[in-house]
Amino acid sequence: MTEFAPLSLHVPTRPSPQDNATIDTSRLSPAGAVRRPAVDVDPTEIHDLAYKLVRVLDENGEAQGEWAAALEPDVLRKGLRDMMKTRAYDQRMMRLQRQGLTSFYMQCTGEEAVACAFQSVLEKGDMNFPTYRQQGLLIAQDWPVVDMVNQILSNSADRIKGRQLPVMYSAKEAGFFSISGNLGTQYIQAVGWAMASAIRNDTRVAAAWIGDGSTAESDFHAALVFASVYRPPVILNVVNNQWAISSPQSIAGGERTTFAARAHGYNIPSLRVDGNDYLAVKAVSEWAVERARRNLGPTLIEWVTYRVAPHSTSDDPSKYRAKDASAAWPLGDPITRLKTHLIARGEWSEERSVQLEAELDQEIAAAAQEARGFGTLHDGPKQSPATMFEDVYKDMPRHLREQRQKLGY
């Protein structure tokens, strides 16, 4: 009936285990090469930026190009400290989990710059809608580590009463919206929150967070549609760490295009940025937040980074990627890169780094110790089971009172 050859299904090939980079190097622009448009630029004029990579720090740790800002050394030292503290925190929590003090943990190793630098440009009152890999948002604002560990341990001092899996923090005061566990749902919520801010003629902005894999979820589209229609003050962050558990970003549709490009069809300006470059993250975040604050509407940013650690403590990446894939740090270690920059500027030294690392380790260990005093998942003081029936509704309905009694409380 037809002259055509049989069809066949295209299934994206996986990054070769030999190629440790596993990042599409064809789209890596050199530091300083990408222009910095005006904040009120017409989105159609920067379509090309979705296919490039904003980078500020070059191989020698020098800041390059239009995105390089004149930043005080103190600001950068704070950034370095935030990232190092985040990593120290991850390491300590991994240890607690291995010791059986809690059920689960997720690291953000290699991605510290994204959350830490982004947080540094927000104001009090702004609201993040994070995923489970943005602990840096809390740490960069010096949120009490004890409070975080309490949540990890589901102990008696856990502000969310042991109700959520570890890492699913919530802290309204910190502008940190509750992490759901269901992927993608928070993306449209952030847009809704930002719409509310606009409806109320407020000045606060929202930040939505999502992973590369989760951009496939429905709510990613819902968020972009609503952001496109109502132009609320929201920053739409896509953290492309190349992996979604075992699935490379090609399975989410990133095989021959970028996640930044997704924004084009919605007339939302977008940028693709080196997420391991603290200076680039900070500069672009500032740009996007200013856009939002000036009522210029949403911005989508793809942060290109790499998930160095396993997906979670339940994961074994050796089953699906080369054992040394993570060791290669395709875009470099964000901590090392900022450190090199500070040293190059004469504002830091290796010794101070070693010292700071020890100090932070101490600080986190002390916080963890303090938190353990409030109990752990399986031991010590914990929330009374009676609390399980609270907060389902504002006022406990009769059937829950009956059930609580049935349980003996």
């Binding site: 847009v191 929150w193 719409m195 509310a196 109320r200 709510d219 609503f226 504002k394 059937h399």
Partner: protein
Amino acid sequence: MPSRTMIEAIRSAMDVSMERDDKVVVFGEDVGFFGGVFRCTEGLQKKYGASRCFDAPISESGIVGAAVGMAAYGLRPVAEIQFADYMYPGYDQIVSEAARLRFRTAGDFTAPMVVRMPCGGGIFGGQTHSQSPEALFTHVSGLKTVIPSNPYDAKGLLISAIEDDDPVIFLEPKRLYNGPFDGHHDRPVVPWSKHDLSEVPDGHYTVPIGKAVVRREGSAVTVLAYGTMVHVAEAAANDTGIDAEIIDLRTLMPLDIDTIVRSVEKTGRCVVVHEATRTSGFGAELAAEVQERCFYHLEKPVQRVTGWDTPYPHVHEWEYFPGPKRVGEALIEATAKD
């Protein structure tokens, strides 16, 4: 007091609420300029401006998800889903997000919001304009589920829902929008103006969530009903002459079990009616509760009269709809002396 249709009562509830509290915003598909395909939001955009009453993209997930974000911010969004049959794309946001936000944050974040949706059959709407998905909400901890049967309750309950600090699913039996339909589809349509409960005050009042009401006192059998089926049950009682006590549940979750138990202990017989499919419908929960709490008072098993376990058909509207005939048969069976 003016007589209002259910549509007018619902509109008035939103109007009153928007007037009193500028944190109340109303949106949904065709809700803004046009005022909704059932005209429940007519005039609100004109009165309160396009930032407080606006059209939404055709994305139920987006509508509910945006409402969750607005509620977390501190607004009181009232979102309309054009038909309950179309709520499924927004179901994740309702179940995984709105319903659980207070619990999973120990009250740090909350989702005081209302999701309104027309439900139920009787309009030849076929499978996608006739569904009654209430049981899909009552199974979800953290949601309140409300369904009025008349204009007075509709306004009072909707104001309560908007003022409630928890997410409320507000189901509107669309066959009741313009009149108190009792299932006698072959008889002339009755307008609300002929019904006492269409007397709706202009201003603010509330009907409490969580309280059922006895619509018709009786001693022979208790009928548990809500929405359109309240009127059908009344017709069935009148048609059969059976001295049925008819309870209009009004709120399914939290359930007013006291009113139910009191009645069943009196009558010793119970018939549950709803339009939704039978298996795992809300009638199952009612039957399970009644037999557990009133076991030693029951003289007969609790019966369920429901929609059949099929998708809602088009041509067989009246064979599917649990009308006064089927309810009447159940009343007769429930009260028969064996």
